[in-house]
Symmetry: C2
Subunit: 228 residues, 2 copies
């Protein structure tokens, strides 16, 4: 009887493990207390939807009645920036005084200061997730952390990326690529929404990610389809 | 021979008209010169993706090698605003000094000043398009211009909208609704991307709108599916 109970237990355990493996791989662990800090790297000319898509996804995640993420912008200075299309944004922090984030989002943008690239490189060690969107992948690749890994970018920039970063394995035709344990790269523009939903799933599982997508009225299925 | 040529001409004309009717209905006419001015109404707490989605769509429309739209933000004052999730944005104009727009985008937001509502109401007469996104439909309905017309909003707010605006015919389950010759209302959050693509189609036809969607790597089909 004990053996039968043990067998039942094992079967249930394996089933749960299989279900979990299909659901979240690898699983990220949220902090024991408080929301997950997400830093958006913003410099001159940052592309609106590249940061606004993930921004909206992360801010709409509710777990046990609480907002699961806390968002802020980080730049070279606190001077106001002109975002793509002409919107004026004032950054919250600089690379010298930003609170340590668990997640970093790098949209397409003009900035490429040594301080910015060094900060991004450090976050690829310190944080849980560093994710680029669109040609933000160029900034991430410039730090060297993508060398030897797979990555993607906006479809109009595949050839340029491949030529400029021969040590990175360019992946075409996907919404996003899991580029390493902490590194993720999305395709162009709206692809960042899918990658952000994928990160939500890695932290909190499929149901919370689906709830977020439904709240967003998001119809794209790439965040489920293009999981590694 | 002249009659035959005339017949050929007529046939070609009718075919072109039929093709156009299937393509764009009703057709909006861009200004003879220069880009189409698009004003984004932004006040405290404006929801990021509600304005960022249409912002990205409009800024990415290229016609004959030129950007087809020019974007700016309008608010009660030029004082900096806190957008949903905490981003700081500085408006370009106030309701008193904004250049006259052809298109007005109204995202979900906190503002409801008499000046703002009067300006929106005026633009529903002066412009080509006044479009709300998400609960921005509440602001549009508050001006009275939706009375007797169909409209939609975020799915979580259907009942509240129907109760508060009994003179407006609430439509459920669509990405957007053509609410009248100049009035359009989108559902929640990402639905604004579909409505913006629809507006692009009304100005420039299906091919330009498709090119924009492809550039955006946008996978949603609602902008085609939910046309009236």
């Amino acid at each position: 009887m004990k053996r039968f109970a043990a067998l039942l237990f094992c079967t249930a355990f394996i089933e749960a493990a299989v279900a979990r493996a299909g659901d979240d791989k690898p699983r990220l662990v949220p902090p024991a207390k408080g929301p997950i800090a997400v830093a958006f790297v913003l410099t001159e000319g940052a592309t609106m939807i590249d940061f606004a898509g993930p921004w909206e996804v992360f801010q709409d995640v509710v777990v046990d009645g609480n907002q699961a993420f806390r968002l802020y912008t980080v730049s070279d200075s606190r001077a106001s920036l002109t975002i793509s299309g002409g919107m004026t944004v004032v950054p919250d922090y600089t690379f010298d005084d930003a609170p340590p984030p668990r997640v970093v989002v790098i949209p397409a943008q003009g900035g490429r200061s040594p301080r910015m690239l060094a900060w991004i490189k450090q976050m690829a060690t310190d944080g849980d997730v560093v994710m680029s969107v669109c040609t933000g992948a160029f900034k991430l690749a410039m730090t060297g952390v993508l060398d030897g890994k797979s990555a993607t970018t906006h479809h109009d920039f595949y050839d340029e990326f491949a030529k400029r970063f021969p040590k990175v394995r360019l992946v075409r035709g996907r919404r996003f690529v899991d580029s390493g344990p902490k590194l993720f790269t999305a395709g162009g523009l709206t692809s960042g929404i899918d990658l952000a939903l994928h990160i939500v799933e890695l932290y909190f599982g499929r149901t919370i990610a689906e709830n977020t997508a439904k709240y967003l009225e998001y119809e794209g299925q790439g965040w489920v389809r293009d999981r590694s």
